[in-house]
């Protein structure tokens, strides 16, 4: 009998310990802040008094960050992803009928399944159904301007709406927002939470928008612009735009003695 165990033997288990890939803690990939707008972006004037000035405190992801709310089809109604019908009173809303579709992915390229995607927008004239919006373009009696969807097993989502119009806002005296749809996405953990805006290919207001140009990275800005997707359009009915959304990637985690995420 050898008195000494081999060096690779784990004394707690008294059997050889096979080498396995380093298991992650389920934490998310560090956020690349260089592609996001800085908190303080003076060209977007509202950010000046609403931006923290101290450094953010970097936090290794704990259970509080890698977990997040879970939603299901019970949370939604049958018309929630149809903005053409979900507020219609006596007809369809005015505007270009469009389908918006795409996938919610993470940085590893995997689809993010069963995650809640919410969206809101102005009507075709650029007016929001909001008690604080006083733009002179009229409210559309048949358009609410919000919806939501759950991604499927592959991270795919889709909804139907009318293309929003551009509108003026108080930043400079002649500032106009390009046509856009706001998106809110959850992901699997609260640290993936993201709100962003989708823009439309070819909109001449994109390069002069004080909000869009807070993004310091040209490629990151371009990724917010949805291309026309003729293949997904419905002939004689609706054009389509494709918008993929990427959330932070996640290191592998333990799930029931197997690794998930690898």
């Amino acid at each position: 009998m050898n008195a000494q165990a081999p060096a690779l033997r784990d004394p707690r288990l008294n059997r050889p310990e096979p080498f396995t890939p380093p298991l992650g803690d389920g934490g998310f990939f560090q956020r690349d802040r260089s592609i996001h707008p800085p908190a303080h972006a003076p060209g977007y004037k509202s950010s000046v008094l609403r931006s923290p000035r101290q450094s953010l405190l970097s936090l290794e992801n704990s259970v509080s960050e890698i977990t997040g709310p879970v939603f299901g089809h019970n949370d939604l109604g049958p018309l929630d992803n149809d903005l053409i019908r979900n507020y219609a009173k006596d007809g369809d809303p005015v505007g270009e009928r469009i389908i918006v579709h795409g996938r919610v992915l993470d940085e590893t390229g995997r689809g993010v399944p069963n995650t809640l995607v919410e969206f809101w927008q102005a009507n075709a004239g650029g007016r929001y159904r909001h008690k604080k919006d006083t733009y002179l373009a009229p409210i559309d009696p048949n358009f609410g301007g919000c919806g939501r969807a759950l991604t499927d097993d592959t991270g795919y989502y889709y909804f139907r709406t009318v293309k929003p119009g551009p509108y003026p806002w108080r930043n400079y005296v002649n500032s106009w927002r390009p046509a856009h749809i706001h998106f809110s996405v959850f992901g699997s953990g609260f640290a993936q939470r993201l709100i962003t805006q989708m823009y439309f290919e070819g909109d001449p207001l994109i390069p002069v928008c004080p909000i869009l140009t807070t993004i310091p990275d040209k490629d990151a800005l371009d990724r917010l612009v949805a291309p026309l997707d003729l293949n997904a359009s419905t002939p004689f009915d609706s054009l389509a735009y494709r918008f993929d959304i990427v959330l932070r990637g996640q290191r592998s985690t333990y799930f029931e003695n197997r690794t998930a995420g690898n």
């Binding site: 977007y44 008094l49 109604g77 919410e118 609260f190 959330l247 932070r248």
Partner: protein
């Protein structure tokens, strides 16, 4: 050239804008559209734990309350368990308690309130105990990327003193920016908080 690392890049954040209510809490925008709505009430009659109101404001660099801000909170239940499969801790799960809520600030006062329960202490993956806390996410016009912070509880002095995250904050004076103050009003427990976006009492925000 080495092999390419084919990671995708995260989608850039954009401000939620002044009309965030339309999409996330449409009743506050002034209309009803969804059959089912998310709200600032996290509890049901069956929820276990001490009922509390979280009540506070978010202040800009002049000390003025934001009146178009939206907060979301994410918390464990009274047993310290998050309602999510990645929480492998021993505390009992309550299926009915999602542990998440959202609230818009009052258009006049800027007040934000949540009706919830006080969460239990969290046991992290290493077995360490973390003081009870609520995770907070803040979006608004003028906020380009959502701000993450936490709320701890003023009557958990011992747990707060040993909490690993609070102890990461170098200046003890800044730890106080995360403590909600316990009070009572009409027999109800109210924890009050102030989130300062700037200034000498700027709240600690996290890069999670």
């Amino acid at each position: 050239m080495p092999q390419p690392l084919n990671y995708l890049k995260e989608t850039a954040s954009q401000t939620a804008g002044p009309y965030v209510h339309i999409g996330l809490i449409p009743a506050m925008a002034g209309f009803d559209i969804f059959e089912k709505n998310f709200s600032n009430v996290l509890v049901t009659p069956n929820t276990k734990g001490e009922r509390i109101t979280l009540e506070g404001r978010v202040l800009d660099g002049t000390g003025t309350p934001l009146r178009d801000v939206l907060l979301e909170i994410w918390q464990a239940n009274a047993a310290g368990r998050y309602n999510h499969p990645a929480d492998r801790s021993a505390g009992a799960l309550e299926e009915e308690f999602r542990g998440w809520g959202r609230a818009g600030s009052d258009f006049d006062s800027g007040l934000v309130t949540f009706e919830t329960i006080k969460p239990g202490a969290i046991t992290d993956k290493t077995g360490r105990k973390c003081a009870p806390h609520v995770n907070v996410w803040i979006v608004a016009r003028g906020i380009n990327i959502g701000l993450n912070t936490r709320l701890y509880f003023s009557n958990e002095e011992a747990a707060n003193a040993s909490d690993p995250v609070l102890n990461l904050i170098e200046q003890p004076v800044r730890r106080k920016t995360l403590i909600a103050t316990r009070g009572e009003r009409a027999g109800k427990v109210v924890y009050s908080f102030t989130i300062n976006l700037q200034g000498p009492e700027e709240t600690v925000f996290f890069d999670v």
